[in-house]
Symmetry: C2
Subunit: 401 residues, 2 copies
């Protein structure tokens, strides 16, 4: 049976790259950038004043001039004036304004006194050339690469794009995702529930987690254990969506039926079964149109874990996102694990005395119920048992979105 | 002047708690829960079978019975049958089904052979009572608290709510936030830009960061440096929004004007100025209706830093979110900082050999330009200088959303 790393590799090798589309920056938050953003002009575009005060020549101060004549007020957003060449010339100036030609530093208000058109600076106060001036091009030269393709767009990248005059960015098209719960035991959350039934929760959880990862177009479906219904619905879903997530119906008992139907509909199996707990029945295939079909176990914790371990990284890669390896954490307590399976263990993180990330298994509940995941931060992956992992063991960590 | 901790305390003491509203779980992702979610019945609600195979009595196996008669098939989602009291009785059973009365364990298909109605288990194979059975109430008893109020709702909490029959949850009302850029030097991103002008980027950045933190209703405004425009627009904005974020106009030069206008409109100043770099001019007040008004510096890095240091924690508290102290990280390299101000330093995180979180300052660019924040993960707060902070110094870390 495949290891988790082998299964991940197979999934990532077979996932398509989605097409690009244009997106206005006001709606680009969370999308994946598919082009590089370059500086369209020097950044800053001019010698920018960084506080309110008086622009003058540092050499005048060094030569002992203390009384200055205020020539005019230079506001932000207007074309700069030219300073008189006299040594005692100065210009009252505002944050964000262009430093006028002839001046080379700005003295803050706090260091000055004003009387009519005369400004005085106390003896002994000196300022070097460039003080409170953010020099043109000191951050970036026109043409510099600022944001590389493959970046998940946040406020910072949007601000850079705006500063560079990019009102529209090329991003990955958002995939339409079908989240399909299967099983006759499931009833809707607001329906009357019999003692032998359970309410649909998996598809809600997966849809919310997809939204948390930036994939907002997910629609929920429910297939009952009826061949005709599965056949008919599955055909439509595979034809209409960019990604299909099935939950349930992949364990041994029913599996002869649902995968047979997938097979009949031309979905090619890429992998089935991973040597891990939970999530062993994980299944992945591609439709004839190369639509990825993920079949997750029906157990809620298994499905949620497989989503984070395989599906979200795959959707990230399909979006063109640069890969980000999981961060290591250290076990806070010893962990015993007997099965010959990789152990995907929900944990809560805390910080050690040297800023170590410490991972403590969720207390008690290991049953597969979602309630055991409330209060956890993600899961670690431990190699196959049987093993005693001492406290301090390093393990890669996947964060719940 | 206030320390960052004092400023934070003042903000949090003065921030209102927002009203509650009902929200369907399909739209609850990212909202803050304002009620507790209790188990409405035992979880699991019945003795639930966790794999496909045969339900039987463990005592029969222990007594040496190896050949069993399959009485019927028990599917998930149907009322359970009752097992024949004979020692060699068994029931073929599916994942998710109710364990029938009389059976106490489930033997997986893999351990069995089948011939007509007869099922055989190889000698030496034993299963304890409870094997592959998830006992009723073993996770939670009806009435147990599962998700406490004050939780940010993710897929896990939505799943728990769904499992407990809660189609609608009580959450904090989403605030309407005005993001107001000020300054004549700003032009729209798609406008022609003169050499002395810069494009609006701050308000885009803040709006996107607010969305990243789960606050989606943010509208952008631009006030030019004209008293009448400010007077008129400000009045409307303060009347119509739940939170007002101003950027720019709080540095010394213009500040006599914009705060005077805020004062005239009944906005009571709570704090002005924090001993920190960047973000020293940070200003916070409350309108007569107790609408929080945050005035952030116009410098992009200052505004973004103040948003994360003060505004987002305040909005979290106003939403009823349980407080989460910042995680400590360790400096990856020595840092020298001369001003007598707290140092809020953008950093990139990496992992050390013991899973320590190591924070490296962003290389080069410390000018306040957004481009210097691309590639950073957040910022650390160091105590006021002048000081040499050696590598390994622990500091609290705020993550960019």
């Amino acid at each position: 049976m495949l290891t988790p790393a082998e299964a991940e590799k197979l999934v990532l090798e077979n996932i398509p790259l989605w097409p690009k589309e244009d997106c206005p920056i006001s709606r680009a938050h969370g999308r994946v950038l598919r082009e590089s953003v370059l500086a369209d002009r020097d950044l800053p575009p001019f010698d920018r004043v960084t506080l309110d005060g008086y622009a003058l020549r540092a050499s005048s101060l060094a030569a002992g001039v203390r009384k200055f004549q205020v020539e005019f007020v230079q506001a932000a957003g207007v074309r700069p004036g030219v300073m008189n060449p006299a040594a005692d010339a100065c210009i009252e100036i505002m944050t964000g304004a262009v430093l006028p030609a002839g001046a080379d530093c700005v003295v803050p208000y706090e260091e000055t006194a004003r009387d009519g058109a005369e400004m005085t600076i106390a003896p002994g106060t000196g300022f070097a050339p460039g003080h409170a001036v953010h020099r043109r091009g000191s951050d970036h030269r026109a043409g510099d690469l600022i944001v590389p393709a493959g970046t998940r767009i946040t406020g910072r990248e949007i601000a850079v794009a705006a500063a560079c005059g990019r009102a529209v960015l090329t991003v990955s098209r958002a995939p339409r995702i079908a989240v399909v719960a299967t099983g006759d035991e499931l009833v809707e959350v607001d329906a009357v529930v019999a003692p032998h039934q359970i309410r649909r929760s998996n598809d809600y959880a997966l849809r919310a987690a997809l939204a948390g990862a930036g994939f907002f177009y997910a629609e929920r479906f429910h297939l009952r254990d009826m061949r005709q219904e599965i056949e008919h619905m599955l055909w439509h879903i595979i034809a209409e969506f960019d990604v299909v997530l099935l939950t349930g119906g992949v364990s041994k008992g029913k599996f002869d039926f649902l995968p047979a139907e997938l097979d009949r509909q031309g979905v090619r199996k890429i992998l089935q079964g991973v040597a891990q707990r939970p999530g062993k029945p994980f299944w992945f295939g591609l439709s004839q149109r190369q639509t990825p079909v993920f079949a997750l176990p029906g157990n809620p914790v298994s499905a949620y874990t497989c989503l984070h371990r395989y599906v979200l990284p795959a959707l990230g890669q399909a979006s063109g996102l640069a890969p980000a390896p999981p961060r290591p954490v250290a076990l806070a307590v010893p962990v015993t694990f007997k099965p010959k399976l990789a152990c995907l263990l929900p944990v809560k993180l805390s910080s050690g005395p040297r800023a170590e990330l410490l991972a403590a298994p969720a207390p008690g509940n290991t049953s597969g119920d979602f309630s055991g995941l409330v209060g956890t931060d993600g899961f670690v992956e431990l190699p196959p048992g049987p093993a005693e992992f001492p406290a301090g063991t390093l393990a890669p960590f996947w964060k719940w979105v």
